[in-house]
C-alpha cells in the first residue's frame, strides 16, 4: 500500500475482462474469455512484472495496456494524454526500403516524431552496428541485421509507460548480451515505468519491484515481487508434478531437461538420474519430443520435492520395453512384467516407442517372459 500512496497512479484496471468469439464453423461460435477479472494499479516509476504460463492472458493484457483493444467489461482509467507503447521490434518494416527509411517509418509507427528519429539516427546506426549498410535495402540484410536494427529503433522510443513482452535480447550472442544489458537497465530504472511480461520467474524477480501473477485470465496474486513469484513457482512445481504423474499413469517414461542445460534426466529410483549417452536414452525408451524442458528452478524443486517420491515409485512399477521374438514380425511391449501385443506403428508411438527401441529376443526368452514374467529372464 505504501507504494501506491507515494507514487502517482498512471493507470488502473478494475475488474477488466476481454472475450473473443471463436468460430467453430460457419454458423457456430463460442465465447472465450482471455481475461476474466483483472484489477491492478500501475504507478509512476514502477517496474511491474506480469508472470504466468502460456495462454494465461498475458498478450491480451498487453494489448489492453497498449490501447490496441478495449475491454468488454470492467474499467481502465488512464491519466489523460498518457502514452503507452509496446516495445515492438521491426514494426512495419518494408523489404524494398533502406534501413534508414525503415528506421524512420518504424519509429513513427512506435509514436516517435520524425525529427527525433532523424536526430537519433546516428545513435541507432551505431548501436545496431550497421555502418554503411543503413542505406542498403532491407532485403539485403541478414536476419541478425534486421533484428539489430529493429531493436535499436524500438529502444529509442520514450513513452510514459513501456511494455516489454519477453524480448530482452535479439541477434547473435554479442548483440544479445548488449541488448539484454541496456534493456534490464531500463526496466530497473526509477525514471521509467515498465510493464514486463515473462514466464521467467528469476528474471521478474531480478528486474521488477512489483508483480502480478496471471492464471486463466484472473489475477491470482499481486504485490511484492518475491511473494508473488514464490506463489507462482510453488504452484507451477505442483502442477508440473501432477502432469508427470499423469504421464506415468499412461505408461510413458519421463525425461526432463533443465532449460539451457544439455543433460537429459530420467525420473527413476526416487531420483532424477542423468542419462549419459544417446544409446542409453534410446534404450530407456526416450524420444526427443517427449523430453520435458523445465526451468532451472523447477528442476531443482523436482529434485527435492516430496511429491516426486510418489511419482518415482509409480515409475518403477512401470518399466517399459519393446521386444520382438527372433524371426517374427509381431512386436510386444513389456509392462509390469506382462507382454502386451503392439498392433500397429501408431500403437507403438502411442506407447512411447519407436522402431529403433525394439529389442530382438530369442523365442525361448519370449516364452519365458510369457510364462514366468520378466524377472530373471532378461536384464532390462
Amino acid at each position: 500500500m505504501n507504494l501506491e500512496t507515494q507514487h502517482e497512479t498512471l493507470l488502473s484496471f478494475r475488474n477488466v475482462g476481454v472475450s473473443y468469439w471463436l468460430r467453430q464453423n460457419a454458423f457456430k461460435r463460442s465465447r472465450h474469455f482471455a481475461l476474466k477479472d483483472v484489477t491492478f494499479d500501475l504507478n509512476r516509476g514502477d517496474s511491474l512484472g506480469v508472470i504466468g504460463r502460456n495462454g494465461c492472458g498475458k498478450s491480451t493484457l498487453l494489448r489492453l495496456l497498449a490501447g490496441v483493444m478495449a475491454p468488454d467489461h470492467g474499467k481502465i482509467a488512464a491519466k489523460p494524454g498518457l502514452r503507452v507503447s509496446l516495445l515492438t521490434l521491426q514494426l512495419g518494416f518494408v523489404d524494398y526500403l533502406s534501413g534508414r527509411e525503415n528506421a524512420i517509418l518504424s519509429g513513427m509507427f512506435l509514436g516517435m516524431k520524425k525529427r527525433d528519429i532523424m536526430n537519433r539516427l546516428n545513435l541507432i546506426i551505431e548501436f545496431a552496428e550497421l555502418g554503411d549498410f543503413i542505406d542498403q535495402p532491407l532485403s539485403t540484410y541478414s536476419s541478425g541485421m534486421r533484428a539489430r536494427l529493429g531493436f535499436a529503433v524500438a529502444f529509442q522510443m520514450d513513452p510514459d509507460i513501456i511494455l516489454v513482452d519477453e524480448v530482452l535480447g535479439v541477434g547473435d550472442a554479442d548483440f544479445q548480451a548488449k541488448s539484454v544489458e541496456i534493456m534490464q537497465e531500463r526496466i530497473q530504472s526509477a525514471n521509467s515505468t515498465v510493464v514486463f511480461v515473462s514466464h521467467s520467474a528469476p528474471l521478474i524477480k531480478k528486474l521488477c519491484n512489483r508483480a502480478i501473477w496471471l492464471e486463466n485470465g484472473v489475477v491470482k496474486e499481486s504485490g511484492e515481487t518475491a511473494k508473488v513469484v514464490d506463489f507462482y513457482e510453488t504452484a507451477l512445481a505442483e502442477h508440473y508434478v501432477r502432469q508427470i504423474e499423469t504421464e506415468i499413469k499412461q505408461g510413458l517414461p519421463v525425461f526432463i531437461r533443465a532449460k539451457g542445460a544439455n543433460t537429459i534426466y530420467i525420473l527413476r529410483d526416487r531420483k532424477v538420474l542423468p542419462i549419459r549417452s544417446w544409446d542409453e536414452f534410446i534404450a530407456l525408451g526416450g524420444r526427443t519430443e517427449a523430453i520435458r524442458v523445465v526451468l532451472p528452478d523447477i528442476f531443482a524443486a523436482l529434485q527435492d520435492a516430496r511429491q516426486v517420491d510418489r511419482v518415482i515409485r509409480q515409475l518403477e512399477a512401470n518399466v517399459f520395453c519393446f521386444v520382438r521374438p527372433q524371426g517374427k514380425k509381431a512386436v510386444f511391449a513389456i509392462r509390469n512384467g506382462k507382454l502386451i501385443p503392439v498392433e500397429s506403428p501408431e500403437d507403438l508411438a502411442r506407447l512411447g516407442g519407436h522402431p529403433g527401441l525394439i529389442r530382438e529376443i530369442t523365442l525361448e526368452q519370449f516364452f519365458a517372459i510369457r510364462d514366468e514374467g520378466i524377472q530373471g529372464v532378461l536384464d532390462f
Binding site: 494489448r63 490496441v68 478495449a70 509496446l86 512495419g92 526500403l97 527509411e101 513513427m108
Partner: protein, 259 residues
C-alpha cells in the same frame, strides 16, 4: 471530428508512410517509376486497339478522349480497391500499436494520388500532341481533382471500415467496379449508345465526372456544375460516414483481425 483531428495529428506519419510505399513500389521493379508513365500509355494503347481500331470507334479526338477517361478512372479505381483493404492489410501494425485506423486508407489514397499526378504528364503530353493548348478552363482542373478525391474518400472509407470483418468484400469491390468501368464511358462516347442505354448510364456519377474532365480539358466548356456538386455532396457524406464508422469500430479491429 475526431477522425479529422487524427489525420491532422498523424499527418507526418501519413506522409512518410505513403512516401515509403511509393518508394517501395518504385524499387520493386527494374523499370521502377517509369512504370507509372508506361502503365497509362499501355492501357491507352490496349483500349485504342480493342475499341478504337477493331470496333471502329476511333476517329477525331478518340485518343485524347480515351486518355482523359483512363487516367481519371485509374486514379479512382486504384485508390478505391487498394484503400478499401488498407486497414485489413495493416493488421500487423494495428495489433501492436494504438493508432487511429483512418490513417491507413488515407495514406493509401495518397499513394494513388501521387501516381495520378505523375500520370498527368502522359495526359498533358497526349493533349499537347493532339493540338490542345491550356486555356482558362484548365484552371478548373484542380477543382475537378478535389471533387474526385472527395468521391474516392467517400467510397473508400466506408468500404475500408468493413473489409476487416468481411475480407471477401475486397474481391467483390474489384469485380463490381470492373463492371462499372465498362459502364462509365471511358472508351466510348455516351452519344454513340442507344437512347435507352444512355438513359441508364446517366445514373452513373462517374460518367459525369469523366465528362467534366473532358469539358474542361478538351471542349472549352464549363462542366455540369449541378452534377459536380451532387458528386461532392455524395463524397462528403460517404467520407463522414466512413470516418465515423472507422472511429467507432477502431477498438474492435485488433480483436477481429486474425491473420
Amino acid at each position: 471530428m475526431r477522425c479529422i483531428a487524427a489525420v491532422w495529428t498523424y499527418r507526418h506519419l501519413i506522409a512518410h508512410k505513403s512516401w515509403a510505399d511509393f518508394r517501395a513500389e518504385s524499387q520493386r521493379t527494374f523499370l521502377g517509376i517509369a512504370w507509372w508513365l508506361l502503365d497509362p500509355v499501355i492501357n491507352v494503347i490496349i483500349y485504342y486497339l480493342c475499341f478504337g481500331v477493331f470496333m471502329n470507334r476511333a476517329g477525331g479526338d478518340y485518343i485524347p478522349y480515351l486518355t482523359t477517361g483512363i487516367i481519371a478512372w485509374m486514379w479512382f479505381f486504384s485508390a478505391l480497391t487498394t484503400g478499401a483493404s488498407a486497414i485489413w492489410n495493416n493488421a500487423q501494425v494495428i495489433r501492436q500499436v494504438a493508432l487511429p485506423k483512418i490513417i491507413f486508407p488515407v495514406a493509401q489514397i495518397a499513394v494513388c494520388t501521387y501516381r495520378f499526378l505523375f500520370s498527368l504528364i502522359v495526359l498533358f503530353s497526349i493533349l499537347f500532341l493532339w493540338g490542345y493548348r491550356p486555356d482558362a478552363y484548365w484552371l478548373l482542373l484542380p477543382l475537378l481533382m478535389a471533387v474526385e478525391l472527395l468521391f474516392i474518400a467517400g467510397l473508400t472509407f466506408v468500404f475500408a471500415a468493413f473489409v476487416p470483418f468481411v475480407p471477401d468484400l475486397a474481391n467483390f469491390i474489384q469485380y463490381a467496379f470492373r463492371l462499372i468501368f465498362f459502364l462509365s464511358c471511358v472508351m466510348y462516347k455516351l452519344e454513340s449508345l442507344s437512347p435507352n442505354a444512355q438513359a441508364w448510364l446517366r445514373y452513373n456519377p462517374i460518367v459525369y465526372l469523366l465528362d467534366a474532365y473532358r469539358d474542361v480539358l478538351m471542349y472549352h466548356t464549363l462542366p455540369n456544375f449541378a452534377a459536380i456538386a451532387a458528386i461532392s455532396l455524395f463524397g462528403l457524406a460517404g467520407a463522414a460516414a466512413g470516418m465515423l464508422l472507422i472511429d467507432r469500430l477502431g477498438p474492435i479491429y485488433a480483436k477481429r483481425i486474425v491473420r
